[in-house]
C-alpha cells in the first residue's frame, strides 16, 4: 500500500470555453490534511468536483489508491472512498435531519462512522433528528452535510467552502472536529477562501491562481507575503504598508 492516497496528475478542466483548471498536479498522502486555497474563481471548487466525478477533465489523470478513476461515476467513487461535502451544503430539503444521514448511510462502506457515531460527534443532533433540515441554522446544516458524507466512511473527505456564510464562532467549532475525523484514518482535502483558516488546520497548502498552481508547501515554510502573492497574483505586499501609512 503506497503512501499516496490521491494523485492528481496534470488535470485541466473546461467549463465550455473557459479553462477553469489548467494543468494542476498534487497528491494527498494518507492521514494528511491538504488545504486548497485561492480567490473566488481560482478553480478550487471545480478541482474538487472533478475529483468527486461531477466534472470530467479534458486532460490529465486522477489516481485513487493507484487506480485511474476517470471513468467512474460519482456514486462509484463514493463506494471507493471519496466523499464530497458540496459547497452550499446541498441537503435534501424535503427530509428530516436523520433521513439525510440515512441517505448517506444507505450505500455506505464499512467503517467507524455510523449514524450513532455522528450523533456522538454532534451531541445536539439526537434531540432534533426528526426536524426538517430547513429548520436548522446554517452551521447546523453544515454539520449535517459533513455527517452525511462521513457515514459513507470515506478514505478521503473533500470539504468545499465549509466557512461560506457562517459566523466565525461556528466555523471554529466545525474546524475543531477536523482532528477527530483525521484520527479515524480519513484524509482531508479542504477548499477554503478563508486563507487563515486553511493554513491553520492544514499539513500542507496548495494555492491556485486563475486555474494554475501558484504556490505549494507546508504552512511553516511559507511566509504570509508568499501566500498573499500567490493568492492575489499582484505584488500586494508593497501596496499594503503604503496604504496604511496614508490613513
Amino acid at each position: 500500500m503506497s503512501d499516496t492516497l490521491l494523485d492528481v496528475r496534470g488535470i485541466s478542466v473546461f467549463h465550455g470555453q473557459l479553462c477553469a483548471v489548467d494543468d494542476v498536479s498534487f497528491s494527498l498522502r494518507r492521514g494528511e490534511i491538504l488545504a486548497m486555497i485561492g480567490a473566488n474563481g481560482a478553480g478550487k471548487s471545480t478541482l474538487l468536483r472533478t475529483i468527486a466525478g461531477l466534472h470530467h477533465p479534458s486532460s490529465g489523470a486522477v489516481l485513487f489508491d493507484g487506480e485511474d478513476i476517470a471513468k467512474l461515476s460519482p456514486n462509484r467513487r463514493v463506494r471507493l472512498g471519496i466523499s464530497l461535502v458540496p459547497e452550499g451544503r446541498r441537503l435534501f430539503s424535503s427530509m428530516t435531519l436523520e433521513e439525510n444521514l440515512q441517505v448517506g448511510a444507505y450505500r455506505a462502506n464499512k467503517g467507524p462512522f455510523t449514524i450513532q457515531r455522528i450523533y456522538e460527534l454532534f451531541d445536539w443532533m439526537p434531540g432534533r433528528r426528526r426536524q426538517s433540515v430547513w429548520q436548522l441554522s446554517g452551521g447546523e446544516q453544515q454539520a449535517v452535510a459533513i455527517g452525511r458524507a462521513l457515514v459513507a466512511n470515506p478514505k478521503v473527505l473533500l470539504l468545499d467552502e465549509l466557512s461560506l456564510g457562517l459566523a466565525p464562532i461556528v466555523i471554529e467549532r466545525i474546524y475543531a472536529l477536523v482532528p477527530e475525523i483525521v484520527a479515524q484514518g480519513v484524509s482531508i482535502l479542504i477548499v477554503e477562501q478563508d486563507v487563515a483558516q486553511g493554513v491553520a488546520v492544514a499539513d500542507r497548502v496548495h494555492c491556485l491562481l486563475e486555474g494554475r498552481t501558484s504556490l505549494a508547501g507546508a504552512p511553516g515554510d511559507l511566509t504570509s507575503d508568499q501566500i498573499d502573492h500567490a493568492y492575489f497574483g499582484a505584488d500586494v505586499s508593497h501596496a499594503g504598508p503604503d496604504e496604511s501609512a496614508t490613513q
Partner: protein, 290 residues
C-alpha cells in the same frame, strides 16, 4: 340528498384520477420529465388486459396481476434506454420523445385494434351497486377502484418514507447531484421511479376499462385530468394528488349536475382557480432550503 350524491360520485371518480395521476407526479417529481405518453400507456395496458391475457387463460378481472408487473418492467427498460437518452440531450427533448411515443402508440393501437371501444369484461359485477338511499347508487366497481387508489397511494407513501430505496428516490428528487455524492446511482433510481409510474398507470388503465370503455385515443383526455389532479393537489405530495383528484371529480360532477356539457368545464375552472390563487397546489411546498 342530490348534492350528497354529486359529492359521492365525484369522490368515486376522483379516486380513479388520483390512481391515474400518481405516476405522472412521481415521474415529474423525480425525473423532471413530463411524460406525455402517460395516458397512452394506460390504454395499452387496457388492450393487453382485453386481448392478450385471455391467451394465458387468466380471467380479465384478474389480468392486472400479470399486466402490472410487466408494465413495471417495461417502465424500467423504457426509462433506462429511450427516456434517459433524451434526458441526456436536454429537457426539451423528453417532451418531444414522449409526445412522439404517444402518437406512435395511438396509431399502432388504431391500426391493430381499430377505433372501436373496448372494455375489460368483469361479468355482472359491472351492474351491481350499493343502494344506501333513494337516489344514491354506489357502483361496486367504482368503490373498488377508489379503495385500490387509496391503498396504492398509501403503500407508495410508506415505500417512499420508510425504505432505503424510497428515501433515495426522494433524495434524487430533491437534489440529484447531492444524491450521487451520497452514493446513489441516479439512473437506476430514475428507472425505479419510472417502473412505479408505469405499473400504477397500467393499473389505472385496467380500472378505467372496468368502469367504462376505452379506445386508442382515450389516453389524451385522461392525461389532461391527471395533470389537473396533480396541479390542484400540489406536485410532490401523494395525498395531495388524491385530494386533487377528488376535488377535480367533485367539481366535474357539480358541473354535470347543472348541464352535462359543463362537466369538463367545471373541472378546468377549478384547475385555473387553483393555479391563480395557489400555484403550488393545495398541498405543495413552496419553501426551499436557504
Amino acid at each position: 340528498m342530490i348534492w350528497l350524491n354529486v359529492v359521492i360520485q365525484g369522490v368515486l371518480i376522483g379516486g380513479f384520477y388520483a390512481l391515474f395521476a400518481c405516476g405522472l407526479s412521481l415521474m415529474f417529481g423525480v425525473l423532471k420529465v413530463i411524460n406525455l405518453a402517460h395516458g397512452d400507456i394506460a390504454v395499452v395496458a387496457g388492450y393487453v388486459a382485453v386481448f392478450l391475457t385471455p391467451h394465458l387463460h387468466i380471467p380479465e378481472v384478474w389480468s392486472f396481476l400479470v399486466v402490472v408487473p410487466i408494465f413495471g418492467l417495461v417502465g424500467y427498460v423504457v426509462q433506462r434506454t429511450l427516456i434517459q437518452k433524451s434526458i441526456d440531450r436536454d429537457p426539451f427533448t423528453t417532451l418531444l420523445v414522449t409526445f412522439g411515443l404517444s402518437v406512435v402508440i395511438e396509431n399502432l393501437l388504431l391500426e391493430i385494434y381499430s377505433a372501436n371501444g373496448q372494455s375489460v369484461n368483469i361479468g355482472d359485477l359491472i351492474a351491481k351497486s350499493w343502494h344506501p338511499a333513494s337516489i344514491i347508487y354506489v357502483s361496486y366497481v367504482s368503490l373498488g377502484v377508489l379503495a385500490v387508489a387509496v391503498a396504492v397511494l398509501g403503500l407508495l407513501q410508506l415505500f417512499l418514507s420508510r425504505t432505503g430505496t424510497g428515501r433515495l428516490i426522494r433524495a434524487v428528487a430533491d437534489d440529484r447531484e447531492a444524491a450521487q455524492l451520497s452514493g446513489a446511482n441516479y439512473r437506476h433510481i430514475f428507472g425505479i421511479a419510472a417502473a412505479i409510474a408505469f405499473a400504477t398507470v397500467a393499473l389505472a388503465g385496467i380500472a378505467y376499462g372496468m368502469m367504462t370503455q376505452f379506445a386508442p385515443t382515450s389516453g389524451g383526455v385522461n392525461l389532461l385530468f391527471a395533470f389537473e389532479a396533480v396541479v390542484i393537489g400540489g406536485i410532490g405530495s401523494l395525498w395531495g394528488t388524491l385530494i386533487g383528484g377528488i376535488a377535480l371529480g367533485v367539481a366535474q360532477q357539480f358541473g354535470a349536475h347543472f348541464n352535462p356539457e359543463y362537466q369538463i368545464l367545471a373541472g378546468n375552472v377549478l384547475f385555473l382557480v387553483v393555479l391563480a390563487i395557489r400555484p403550488q397546489g393545495l398541498f405543495g411546498r413552496r419553501t426551499a432550503l436557504a
